[in-house]
Symmetry: C2
Subunit: 356 residues, 2 copies
């Protein structure tokens, strides 16, 4: 034992052979006792776990991964962590993976195609056992990189055309349509949209489609300048709203592609002297908690980010373990009615607002 301690001190860290020696068994037994406890006699198992604990044995993940050809890590390829909605999803994903004894490798692509492919390549090199993707719109190169037999799930969508991967998410278009119908029901007819950049972002595109579909039901259409596509940020939302308000015939309601945009829109409206929702209705998409308590609280679509993360973790863990994963059910993305929507103001005397 003292001799073993010496060896360990020299080498820096206890190895499986040290544990084997200390427990008086072979390395194979140590491996078995630690990895599948049932396959070993209780007394031996105790001897081994005991020795392992005494020596502070941790194990070498690389060696384990190499020998077992499983890394015990999942990868998440997300647009960014800087948006709380993704952070919430990844946080939940990680926690659930942890419960499965799996680690999380994160690659964020920053809405950039090249970075995305690079991120995936890195994840693959690291030998992840599965991958969480956001959305199904990716570069051909990215798809080509993805080994067909590697467990992977697409989140944030309920289904994706021509994508064989399981989808864990909700129906963006339907949700966008629902919130638009709410505006329609309120009596709005001139409805604008500040959407996310649809290029390479199928969720953003689907939301536009949904709004368009709902509008079509009412015989309305959506096109620039009433449709603005902007990067997801508060500043862009502000700018877009300002542009909308500068129109000769501004909309009475604006549905936004996400909460950041909506918040920016709110700021711009206030800056323009407009009261929300009296003068202008605004809706969001995500349901960030800060905006739920704002003044006025934002009417928005609730995105089940954490739930997606948890389900993705369960799904991938099952897949990686060779088990049958739970069938991916469509998640709810309910409209949550709060304070930023109301019937349109009565027709104003002058087309232009009083103050600017």
């Amino acid at each position: 034992m003292g001799e073993i301690a010496y060896k360990i001190a020299v080498r820096g860290r206890a190895g499986i052979r040290d544990v084997a020696e200390a427990a008086g068994v072979s390395v194979a037994t140590v491996s078995r006792a630690l990895n599948k406890p049932d396959s070993v006699t209780p007394v031996l198992r105790a001897r081994v776990t005991d020795a392992a604990r005494r020596l502070g044995y941790l194990g070498n993940g690389a060696a384990r991964a190499l020998a077992s050809r499983r890394s015990g890590a999942m990868g998440a390829l997300v647009p960014t962590l800087d948006n709380p909605i993704f952070a919430a999803c990844i946080d939940a994903f990680q926690q659930r993976l942890d419960a499965h004894g799996i680690s999380l490798l994160v690659a964020s692509a920053g809405y950039d195609a090249a970075a995305e492919t690079r991120g995936l390549r890195t994840l693959l090199q690291r030998g992840v056992d599965g991958i969480l993707l956001v959305g199904a719109a990716h570069e051909p190169e990215t798809w080509a990189l993805l080994p067909p037999d590697l467990p992977a799930v697409v989140t944030w969508m309920h289904r994706a055309e021509g994508c064989a991967l399981p989808c864990i998410g909700f129906d963006n278009a339907a949700a966008a349509a629902r919130i638009t119908r709410h505006l329609l029901a309120l009596g709005h007819r001139r409805i604008g949209m500040i959407a996310g950049l649809a290029r390479g972002n199928d969720r953003a595109a689907a939301r536009i489609d949904g709004v368009r579909a709902a509008l079509a039901e009412a015989g309305l259409t959506l096109a620039p300048p009433l449709l603005a596509e902007r990067a997801y940020s508060v500043a862009e939302g502000s700018a877009a709203m300002a542009a909308l308000l500068a129109l000769p015939d501004p909309p009475t309601a604006v549905v936004c592609g996400n909460d950041h945009l909506a918040f920016g829109a709110l700021v711009a409206a206030r800056r323009a002297g407009l009261a929300v929702p009296a003068d202008l209705s605004v809706t969001g998409f995500d349901d960030l908690d800060f905006l739920a308590h704002g003044d006025p609280p934002l009417t928005t679509v609730h995105v089940p980010a954490a739930e997606m993360g948890r389900r993705a973790a369960d799904h991938l863990a099952a897949l990686a373990a060779g088990k049958e994963p739970p069938p991916p059910a469509e998640l709810e993305a309910p409209v949550v009615l709060r304070g930023t929507t109301a019937p349109p103001a009565r027709r104003r005397a002058t087309p232009r607002r009083a103050r600017a």
Copy 2:
């Protein structure tokens, strides 16, 4: 070549031997050509990279890690990703690591000591080349686990008593003191604080200390019920503020331990019919962008989260590469004055006259 392709198809993925064979060189040369291009003849290097590209060679991270005893991954042990301030830091950390060709392994502990130790253990098993820690207050068990020679940095603090690790961050106490002095300068004398839970959270504790210190300079003290310690959440902030307002002699200003608490406080104040900042001043800590544009916009302390992430990445990358890391400089955490602070309201009619 066709033969090689066949082998690869059978085995699933191209290995270094396939590349070697395709390029007509030894595996050693392939390894060198790919890892340190300068150590190999240009023509051979081209042959190798060419073959690697043709075969879609990615490399096996586990094998590489095992042989080189470096994993090429850094670990981040954070309280949670669900708070945008940490998410922003980790996002920046990841991006910068990526620039160094390093991957990110995330473990979030959820402000739970046991989970934290478990998370660190996982990171260590995975063989990370370095670790980002938030704060220096950790379980003894956690510290014991951390190999003394493993590169690690503490973020979110400028320095930590009795902690030898490099600190990359700002001075929580000083920043809290500064924002408190701002309140004092405005004329507030009855100042409350809604702090984070200080137990096991040195940042939260330092902020309390800072407020206390500033108050002491003015001959004031801070103690319950004027000091409330609450978990970092909007709801807790609300509840705490409600309690503060229910006091016989409520504070005229409240400094909050973070922006979530401050936002909750704002909500509670509004609910109580109080105008901020006219009737009550509130300050935050973090500078989340949503609150910068709120109504009123929050006066708060700006926390350089992204900058900490970037510097931590650079520092760890240098350490892991055996280079001299840049000396960790103290980061700025400036008070940003916005709309939630103002001089105290003139003495209200009802309560007994306050001391001058």
